[in-house]
């Protein structure tokens, strides 16, 4: 059934034709429009006005109701009336104690969920004393070497009560093992642990570029993590499928959603191929998208993504549970949009992007600090970012009505057009042999690099406007006095001292034995590596040692050189 009767549409078409001949023609005759053509950031053409006739072809079922298939209008039946989105600011730097202190500050400011950034050595499976970690320890995130560091990170924080997001990728299974070990040590009920690991390997090879092993073993590690977590920690989302990073390296809104759905399909095939029913793990798949600058395009992106996902799960994977078809998304505003020039403008940019995420129906959100174009954000910047979300949530009454833009001729047309384009891209991935193969071949990498260059050229030519940078430039306001978050120079040595103390006091023979067992298990594709990894972290094997043990089995990833 369509949304409007045919006679109503006929009537609108006739009247629009008359309007175009009379009022519109007169206006255009008087003064031409500023641009010959209008389009969204991802290139979908925009009309000057939309009417019911523009959505006459869309069946009413495509909209549905919130919390019901195909979830266009929202993930839950009551949305923010039942539970506001989670304010989840990511933080991580220095030693675990430093980050722990920031967490406590943010909880006190009103943050409702925790999120951890790890430093590069931790992400890449290196200990703090590895020569390759030179200069990087505790820099862009917190340094984690052993299970004790995870304990320090969450000191005084009740992990049964607050949900914790861990932005960890190639070494995710080790950090998960440490988290579980800490929870057990503290006597928590593992079934009550709530949180999310990022653990999205395919997007790493094409976007965020943190990797250890070749592509297929990395996907296998994720499979093991998903299958183990589904039983041991059923309230933890073992993966956050991260379109955000695809956008961060240049992908447009269509590529963000289509590519991440292609990765979703690959992971679901991997896990169902290992014998797990789709409904036993799909409800715990979670997503992470960007809220970028093109306001309406972004809102429609969230709506289209929910619909595409629901259809993939229902049609392709024959899911039966509605929870398996419900896309839940964490959103971060666009770091790419922030400028160093007149950096206070970043507050406005972020607030508008955050509003778009709310109108698009996000489940949790990180708003960027106004100083993130300089360095990791200061406490003051984080407070302003949290306040931005609180103002949207509590002062402007945008949370009372679900999907308030739903039914807008424009919003429904654009949602539909974006969905159609996403399906086209997904068909192309299928035709070319699927996501894993295309990641290995560098196909996604090339598409994203091309997009990034095209965007740069648009900015360079002044077609894409950045206020204060290539438009309304104020020579006087160039160099900003920004208080930058300081780096603790003592951080590396403390991590190294602790590593040495751990290695001196643990049962090294047992650690060697466990690492040997783990490597042996990795040679066979059908053993889940989590139980042995948890044993190893409890015996104080370090993150670097565990990752190195498997590198000997699988080797390292060789990057295709795509420019």
């Amino acid at each position: 059934m369509n949304l409007f009767s045919e006679t109503a549409i006929e009537d609108i078409r006739e009247k629009q034709a008359a309007w175009e001949e009379k009022e519109l023609a007169a206006a255009l005759g008087n003064r031409p429009e500023e641009k010959p053509a209008y389009e969204t950031e991802c290139g979908i053409p925009l009309k000057r006005v939309y009417t019911a006739a523009d959505i006459a072809d869309i069946p009413a079922d495509e909209l549905g109701f919130p919390g019901a298939y195909p979830f266009t209008r929202g993930a839950y039946p009551t949305m923010y009336r039942g539970r506001p989105w989670t304010i989840r600011q990511v933080a991580g730097f220095g030693n675990p104690e430093a980050t722990n202190q920031r967490y406590k500050y943010m909880i006190q400011t009103g943050q409702t969920g925790l999120s951890t950034d790890f430093d590069l050595p931790t992400l890449l499976g290196l200990d703090s004393d590895d020569p390759r970690a030179f200069g990087e320890v505790g820099r862009v995130g917190v340094a984690i070497d052993t299970v004790d560091d995870v304990d320090r990170l969450f000191d005084g924080i009740d992990l049964e009560k607050i949900s914790v997001s861990l932005t960890i990728n190639p070494s995710a299974w080790v950090v998960y093992a440490m988290y579980v070990a800490v929870a057990e040590r503290r006597g928590y009920d593992l079934h009550k642990l709530a949180g999310t690991l990022q653990a999205d390997p395919l997007k790493e090879y094409v976007a965020q570029k943190e990797w250890i092993y070749p592509v297929r073993p990395a996907v296998r590690l994720l499979r093991d993590l998903i299958m183990y977590s589904a039983k041991a920690t059923p309230k933890i989302n073992p993966i956050s499928l991260s379109g955000y990073h695809l956008s961060d390296v240049g992908g447009n809104a269509l590529q963000e959603i289509a590519f991440i759905m292609a990765f979703t399909i690959a992971y679901c095939e991997e896990v169902t191929g290992a014998g797990m029913d789709i409904d036993d793990f799909a409800p715990r798949l979670s997503f992470f998208f960007i809220s970028h600058q093109d306001f309406f395009e972004q809102i429609c992106k969230f709506r289209a993504a929910r619909r595409v996902y629901a259809k993939i799960m229902a049609r392709r994977f024959k899911a039966r549970k509605p929870e398996s078809m419900r896309l839940r998304v964490h959103v971060q505003t666009a770091a790419m949009s922030l400028t160093k020039v007149e950096h206070h403008n970043n507050l406005m940019r972020t607030a508008i992007q955050a509003l778009g995420a709310v109108l698009g129906g996000c489940q949790s959100m990180h708003t960027n600090g106004l100083d993130e174009a300089f360095a990791i954000p200061t406490e003051e910047a984080m407070k302003l970012a949290i306040r931005t979300q609180q103002i949207i949530r509590d002062e402007i009454n945008v949370t009372s009505v679900i999907d308030p833009l739903g039914g807008s001729y424009f919003i429904e047309r654009l949602t539909r057009d974006m969905e159609t384009e996403i399906w086209k891209l997904l068909d192309e991935v299928d035709e070319r042999g699927g996501a894993v193969k295309l990641v290995e071949e560098g196909w996604f990498q090339q598409k994203l690099a091309d997009s990034a260059y095209a965007t740069f050229q648009k900015i360079d030519a002044g077609e894409k406007i950045s206020v204060g940078v290539n438009r309304y430039v104020d020579e006087a306001s160039r160099s900003a006095e920004v208080h930058i978050h300081p780096y603790d120079e003592a951080c590396t040595q403390l991590q190294i001292d602790r590593l040495q103390a751990v290695r001196a006091s643990r049962d090294n023979a047992r650690v060697r034995e466990l690492l040997k067992d783990l490597a042996e298990q990795a040679r066979s594709d059908d053993i889940n590596l989590l139980p042995k990894t948890i044993e190893a972290v409890k015996a104080k094997a370090t993150l670097g040692e565990i990752c190195a043990a498997l590198r000997e089995v699988w080797g390292a990833y060789a990057e295709p050189m795509i420019v």
Binding site: P121, L123, F134, G135, V341, Y453, S466, M561
Partner: protein
């Protein structure tokens, strides 16, 4: 745009080199464990479109590896993009490796997320120019061309 915030250190170093080869050769490099390669790849294309010969190192290169690649490829300029905050120790080490290889004639241009308060430390490490984040293509190209011109090669 942004010419004002672009600072360039005068290079007093003009070694004897074969001036016959007219094309500027640039090694676009990623140092350390920083995976942000969007900017590096865009810069590589900009320089290529401007007629330079560009070699890209790929990710996760140590200062020693970058210098070895620069020497082997006989480049005029190493362009390093860094967004991980670890620029001060990594550029210091890069400068040390260049001196060790007696290759200080190779210019070093830095880009990425580099707070102005760290510029002085980078000059001390032997960085020849720092290109700001918002730089247009033209500024990136002229920065490199003027470094080479100051040396009297092109």
């Amino acid at each position: 745009m942004n010419e004002a915030s672009m600072t360039e250190k005068a290079s007093g170093d003009t070694p004897d080199r074969d001036a016959a080869a007219g094309t500027i050769r640039v090694l676009v490099a990623k140092l350390g464990l920083d995976g942000h390669d969007r900017g590096a790849k865009v810069v590589a294309r900009i320089l290529r479109d401007a007629g330079m010969e560009v070699v890209y190192t790929g990710l996760y290169k140590s200062p020693g590896e970058v210098v070895a690649a620069a020497v082997q490829e006989d480049v005029d300029v190493i362009g390093v993009s860094l967004l991980s905050g670890s620029h001060v120790p990594l550029f210091r080490e890069l400068g040390r490796c260049l001196r060790e290889e007696k290759s200080e004639h190779i210019f070093v241009v830095a880009g990425g997320v580099i707070p102005e308060q760290d510029y002085a430390a980078l000059w001390d490490s032997g960085v020849d120019a720092i290109v700001p984040q918002e730089a247009r293509a033209e500024l990136i190209v002229t920065t490199i061309r003027s470094l080479i011109a100051a040396r009297g090669r092109v």
